[in-house]
């Protein structure tokens, strides 16, 4: 099976506080194409930091991160921007969408940045919104959508650029149980149907079961890695 993400001796140290914090401590891990993985662990265990590192949003203190065969820890900021735009889809915990754009415009936004043709772009945005069950909310702005609907738009947006994988940092943290499960079901379906590689972090017991692999972080290190 093809490896999409591989980290080697990945370390991230923050020097902010009283003593330096090893937020990610020597992580060696691989994620294969089509995997659907939950990153779990207590608060402060380094989940967000880990996702930011493999998403190229943050620079590691030490170690390497390969996305397919590119070591993104060595890319310069400008290259990294393009790389992210083309290869990685993001879903954040909150404030995911551009408030002044409609659902469809939000989904199109990334494709626009990639300079896709407008008819192609529209078609794909519509398809993606249908796929996440929001075919009837295309022209609605985020403030008129529920939290769960907003996160579904964010998933659709993350998919828009046909990324190699999608990173979602606590996508269900602000959602009620029903919306959370609903979102995860959609993600699971997309994972299966489109063979899209998905990683999400959570400490929400309700949604962990939806993942097929569960990686547990404690103090920045992998303490458990279970494939179901």
């Amino acid at each position: 099976m093809k490896t999409v993400i591989e980290t080697k001796n990945l370390v991230k140290v923050y020097n902010g506080g009283v003593a330096p914090v090893k937020a990610v401590n020597n992580v060696n891990i691989k994620f294969n194409e089509g995997e659907f993985t939950a990153i779990v662990g207590p608060s402060g265990s380094g989940k967000t930091t880990f996702l930011n590192l493999i998403g190229g949003l943050d620079k590691p203190t030490d170690g390497e991160i390969f996305i397919e065969n590119v070591d993104i820890s060595k890319l310069k900021e400008r290259k990294l921007f393009d790389f992210r735009l083309k290869n990685i889809g993001f879903v954040f915990q909150s404030y995911n969408l551009i408030p002044v754009l409609t659902a469809k415009e939000n989904v199109s936004f990334i494709m626009l940045l990639q300079k896709m043709k407008s008819n192609e772009m529209n078609k794909r945005a519509e398809e993606l919104l249908q796929a996440v069950g929001l075919g009837d909310k295309m022209d609605v702005r985020p403030s008129k959508l529920s939290g769960g609907q907003q996160q579904r738009v964010a998933v659709a947006r993350a998919l828009a650029s046909k990324p190699k994988f999608i990173l979602a940092d606590e996508p269900t943290a602000n959602l009620d149980t029903q919306s959370a499960l609903n979102l995860l079901d959609i993600m699971a379906r997309l994972n299966k149907e489109e063979n899209i590689t998905l990683l999400f972090s959570t400490h929400d017991q309700r949604v962990i079961d939806r993942a097929r692999r569960v990686v547990t972080l404690i103090d920045g290190a992998v303490s458990e890695d279970v494939n179901k």
Binding site: T48, N52, G55, L57, D58, F81, R84, L85, F90, F92, Y95, N96, I98, P99, V100, L101, F109, I110, L112, L113, R157, S161
Partner: protein, 408 residues
Amino acid sequence: MKTLLVLAWRNLWRKKKRTLITVSSVMFAAILTIALMSIVSGMKQQMIESIVSNTTGHIQIQDVLYDDEPSIDYALELSPEVMQLLEQHENCIAYTVPRIQNFCLASKDIGTRGVLVTGIKPEKENKMNNVSSRITQGRMFNDNDNYAVVAEGVANQLELELGDTIVLLGNGFQGMIAASKYKVGGIVRFPMPEQNNSMVYLPLAEAQWLFAAPDRVTNLIIMAEEHVDIDMLSADLQSSLDDEWFTVYTWEELLPDAIAAFEVRNAQVKMMAWILYAVVGFGILGTIITMVFERMKEFGILLSIGLKRIKLAAICMLETLLMSFLGVLAGIAIGYPLMYSLYKNPIPLKDDLADVMIDMGIEPVFAFSVAPEIFLQQGLTVFFIAVAIGLYPVVKVLRLDMVKASRK
């Protein structure tokens, strides 16, 4: 680019109130500075017009030595050369006003005082300053008459009445003696005491005869056509005249004190304008800083999903540009009709200043100017200040740490 503009535009209307407050502060700044500059340049214009028409005219041609020592000996000859030059500049020159002036003693019976005898062509003089309208008794002479018109102050001091005779005694051209007597045919009142207490008018030809200086004048005043650049015309004339004999002065050169006074007042007003700019500028800066602070997280996420920094910075800049543009536009849209109506219906002045102005022969009103450059200049200044403030979010975005910002 279009997307960026759309985003910027929509962002503006996210916080309608704040945008409107910002736009209106730009607008008020524009209106206030426009009003300030409009009144300054209106008053200046009025002052200039009054000084120019009551005293110096736009340009004067004099003998080289006359300015240092205003003696009749330095009266210049209206030679064919000079007349030809003036004709060549016909399209720049509205008209010319010849004067021959010299101090004399004027006496009636036993009373004697110094007066400024001025030979004029009445129809030319009237074009410039409408001197005939200041006549309080009798009437202005024609070119061929040979009576005098005296200022009211002179008449009072010498107890002159219409029909009385005065004797004038002084120096004529190059050592000749000027002495003659004239009937008083008119009395004229000037607002400025200096003039009112010294002026005695004679027809030009009569005065030239008195001073034994036929065809000579001490000052040849030139009134330029509207919109002619006075400095250029002056330089032009000077370059064609023999500078061993003739000097061409602009009114500014003849009245350095008045110019200095303008400059001082201008500097004061500019200070006020800058204080105004600063107040409004800090106001706008405040809203922009709050805006940036509130949107940090959003900025972080936009950068994370792949919007380039420079584009995000462009959006921020566009937002500021749009707001300032709207503000300035609104400022001009309101400022112009306002200034125009004040320009058409000036506000009368009623205090001490009014008396001073009347004394100087200026109409006592707040004169406003509607010169286009005022609107352009103030509009641009306010706009550029707003743009400078708009650099704050741009710098912020260019330096933003995405990870920290999206964690907030």
